[in-house]
Structures are given as C-alpha cells and as structure tokens.
C-alpha cells in the first residue's frame, strides 16, 4: 500500500535480495546441471525475454492481455459502481438483489470461463467478459460498504443544515465511500489480470496466457518464464498506478510518508 514510505536503503536491500536469489538460482542450475526444460537459468530466461521483445512477439501478446485486462476492469468496475450505488440507495433493492449477488460471487469465475468462451466466442470479447466478472465483485462490495460507512454525526450535520437526499449523497456519502471504492478498484484491477489469463488458457490465439501454453507445449520453459515475468510486471504496474490514483484522489487522507533521517 505505501510504496512511497520506503527509504532508499530499504529499496536497496530489496534489490540486493533479488539479485542474490537470482545469482543463487543461476549457480544452482549450472552446478547441479538441471535440465533447462525443468528449470531454465535466469540468464536463459533473460535471453528468451530479450529475443521475444525484439521480435515483437511478446510485446504483441502483452498488448492483447493488457487490453483485455483493462477493458474487463473498466466494464466490471463501472457495473460494480452502478450496482453498488443502487443497492446502497435502498434496503428494498438490496433485499431483492443481494442474495443473487452473493450466489454469483460464490461460484468460482474460473469454473464458468469455458461457458463464457462458448457464449462470447474465442476472441478478445470472452476474455474481457471473464475479467469483468472477476473485477465486478470487489468493486461492488466496497462501494456498498463505503456508501454505508457514513458516521451518524455527519448525517445529523447534513440533516441540521436541511440537506436534500441528493446533497447528502454527493457531498458526504460519496466522498466518505471513496477510500473504500479505491481499495475495491485496486483489488479488481489485479483480479482482472487473472481473469484475462484464465480466459486465454481456456481458448485463445493470442495473449500472454496463450503464449505460456504454447511455450509449455513446445517444452520452451524459458519462454514460459519470460511470459510470466511480463505478466508480473504488468500486474505490479497496474497496482502502482492504482496506488498513485489513490494518493491523488484521497488528498485529504493523511498518510504523508515520514522522512527518515536516521536511516
């Protein structure tokens, strides 16, 4: 959550740890003479990654998966926000819809991925829909909880100043819900990556998930790792972007990183 609160020394320590692990991995593969099909050395992964990027193949797959993730995320979170807003508006709507929402959530989305592929085809659309269904719930749940989290004294304040329902919604409920909604969006965005890849596993002709399967079939384990590295980078980038958005939007939340002079 608080990437920015890390000191340069802590960052250096993390990088050193990674470098140490990679070095140990490299030496272990060489010394123990492990088959590259079982576990490729980091250097082999790096070469595969550079080649894939140079040829444009990995970049193309990355682009496809990124698009599916983002489109699914936007679709799922807009649906989550709208439904959450409606459900939080009235207990009657909540009683009507919520049992179905819970039932929907308890079904593992991964299990219905093949069904979605049948309905939405083998192209990008089915991946977008799978990513959307997975991203939907955390946004929905956090929107409802957030809109309901308004302290009683703030509601009394608005009542005493004769605010309309609408004014109370936009001037108090929504700002009060924003921290929750942003957490929901963060979780939803990361889950959308999983949704897109699962969709590609079921059936696809492009995307990083497809690439992982292809490399696996041809026993190109270094290629699998190269695609995994790109997926991880994408996931981290999305999470960091959400953290940045959170800082920008929640300007009033006081988590300014303390300056650590002592190190």
């Amino acid at each position: 959550m608080n990437e920015a609160t890390r000191t340069p020394i802590e960052i250096a320590q993390s990088v050193l740890l990674l470098a140490g692990l990679l070095a140990a991995w490299e030496f272990a593969v060489v010394w123990l003479d492990i088959s590259p099909i079982l576990l490729p050395a980091p250097s082999a992964v790096a070469i595969s990654l550079v080649n894939g990027v140079k040829s444009g193949l990995l970049i193309k797959h990355l682009g496809v998966t990124f698009f599916e993730t983002m489109a699914g995320f936007v679709l799922g979170s807009v649906a989550g926000l709208v439904c959450g807003g409606l459900i939080a508006q009235s207990r009657a709507i909540e009683r009507l819809l919520y049992p179905y929402v819970i039932a929907f959530q308890t079904v593992p989305k991964v299990a219905i991925a093949p069904l979605i592929v049948i309905w939405f085809g083998y192209g990008v659309a089915s991946k977008v829909v799978i990513a959307a269904t997975i991203a939907f719930f955390p946004v929905l749940a956090n929107t409802i909880v957030g809109l309901r989290s308004v302290p009683a004294d703030q509601l009394e304040l608005m009542a005493a100043f004769m605010a309309t329902r609408r004014q109370t919604l936009w001037k108090v409920r929504v700002p009060q819900a924003l921290p929750f909604i942003l957490v929901g969006l963060d979780v939803g965005a990361v889950l959308a990556v999983i949704g897109a890849v699962v969709g590609e596993f079921v059936s696809a002709k492009e995307g990083l998930g497809f690439q992982i399967l292809q490399s696996g079939f041809s026993l190109d384990t270094a290629g699998v790792f190269a695609a995994l590295v790109l997926l991880a980078v994408m996931g981290i980038a999305i999470h960091l972007a959400m953290g940045f958005l959170r800082k920008k939007v929640l300007y009033w939340v006081d988590d300014i990183s303390p300056v650590n002079f002592s190190g």
Partner: protein
C-alpha cells in the same frame, strides 16, 4: 422576571402566558412536557428526557448544565429538529417545530468537519446546501471574517486533519454562524479546549452574542462557565433527564473574566453546586 420563567411551571400557565403575550414579546422557543424515550438495540427503553418544559426569550443566553448522560444533547437535537420527540410540544416563533430550520445554527459536541473540504469550504457548507453554490461568493467575505474572529486567519486552505481539535471546533463555530441564525444551539463547544483558550472563547462568544443579539443555548459541564455566560442556567438532573431548576443569573453585563472572583459569582456557583449535591449528581 421573564415570561419564560412562568412557562410550564403551573397549571394556570397558559392563561398567564396569554395575558403576558400582549404586554411582552412572546418567547422565541417554548417546550411543553417534552419527553424522549429511546429504544436501544435490545429493545430496552431509555427515558432520556421526562416532562421538560421551558420558554426562551429572543436574545436570551441560556446555559444547559448537567452531569453526563442527563439528556443535554438529546434536548439540543430535539430543538434542532433532527430528533423526533416521543411526546410534548416544541414551538419556535409560535409555530410547532417539526423539523430543521434555516434560522437555527448548531454546534455539535465534536467538530464534525468534512475531511475532504478545506476550512473555508467547511464554513461555507451550509450556504452551499441552502442557498446554492452560486451564492458562495457573497458569503466568502463573511466566512473570512468569522475565521479571523475565531483566530484562524490564514487557515482558509488548510484541511481538517491539519488542525488541532480546538481549532477544528472553532471552524465548526464559524460554520454555525455563517447563515446568521436567530438561534444558536451549542453542545459543549469548548469542551476540547484548554482552560485559557476556553476563557478567551467564552469572552469572544459573549461579544458575538452582544453584537448580534442571537438567542443562544449552550450545553456545558462547567458550573463556572454556565454562570459566567448565561442569563439563566437550566439545571438538569439524570435518570430520567429532568429540568430540575432554572436559575436566573443577575450579574451585570458586559461580563469580564475578573468577575469570576466576585462574591456574587461565587454565590451562584455555590448555589448550583449545592443543588447537584442534594440531588446526588456530581457535575
């Protein structure tokens, strides 16, 4: 001495009140046999107020004094119109009070500022809600005046989390004044302040009151504060919350802090202290 002293005291009050209305201005606010019973979560009934009656004249300064839990906040909520009384009558300007009104300002026991709004935007919130966004400009100068008055000049663009608790409560006071309400209901507004700032704020409050002739009802735990500020002290006792005595304070105005050491002042403080002692409640 005031019409309000008679209200709700005896059975023939109504006729007495009617006669007096012709000669003196009617009370701004009256309460008749107000009762408030809360239903708690486990369906238990809590009688927070029982048989509370009084009248408050326009321009009067009332201190509502009583120990914790005796129903002071409850009474203030009912007068604000945000809490529906279980039974009894409340009127303002002769009309039954059935909900919040624009001419009543309210200061809560905690500041209740909106964290995402700057100090200036918090003070202007009632204007935005009542008069609309476009009218904001007309009130900005006044908002800045109030900020200066409560000693927060230059803090317009700060956010609540950047202020101390006492500063936040002073912003809340500015917010309650912005629509220039006829009546100000203040729930322990200076409870969170240190003794020195508290004295200064009390003097400042008296100055505002004297200049604007607002009607003020101020809740407090402090006997000395009640005597220093009020025309009349409403003394409340708990379980159930009742208005057990109304004590007029005949100290001269304007009042100064050094009056606290006068024998008359001490007399009032002792008298109220005795009242709590005999009623078994410690303020």
């Amino acid at each position: 001495m005031l019409v309000s002293d008679l209200a709700g005291k005896s059975a023939d009050d109504k006729s007495a009140g009617d006669k007096l209305i012709n000669s003196k201005p009617a009370d701004l606010v009256t309460a008749q046999n107000v009762r408030m019973v809360y239903t708690s979560r486990n369906a238990e009934l809590v009688t927070a107020l029982d048989d509370v009656s009084f009248g408050i004249a326009e321009g009067e300064f009332i201190a509502l004094l009583g120990p914790s839990g005796c129903g002071k906040t409850t009474l203030l909520k009912i007068l604000t119109g945000t809490l529906k009384r279980t039974s009894g009558e409340v009127t303002m300007r002769g009309q039954p009070l059935e909900g919040p009104r624009p001419d009543i300002g309210r200061v809560f026991q905690t500041p209740v500022l909106l964290a995402w709004r700057s100090v200036l935007d918090n003070i202007l919130l009632p204007i935005e809600l009542g008069e609309g966004r476009l009218q904001r400009r007309d009130y900005e100068a006044r908002a800045r005046d109030y900020l200066k008055m409560v000693g927060l000049e230059g803090f317009e663009t700060k956010y609540p989390h950047e202020l101390s608790g006492g500063m936040q409560q002073r912003v809340a006071i500015g917010r309650s004044l912005i629509r220039d309400p006829a009546m100000l209901l203040m729930d322990e507004p200076f409870g969170a302040l240190d003794a020195m700032t508290r004295d200064l704020m009390n003097v400042e409050l008296l100055r505002i009151w004297q200049a604007s002739r607002k009607t003020i009802v101020l809740v407090t735990h402090s006997i000395a504060e009640a005597v220093f500020l009020a025309d009349r002290v409403f003394v409340m006792t708990p379980r159930p919350g009742r208005l057990s005595e109304i004590i007029p304070i005949d100290l001269p105005r304007p009042r100064h802090l050094d009056m606290i050491n006068s024998p008359e002042f001490g007399h009032y403080v002792r008298r109220i202290g005795r009242h709590f002692a005999t009623h078994g409640a410690v303020a």
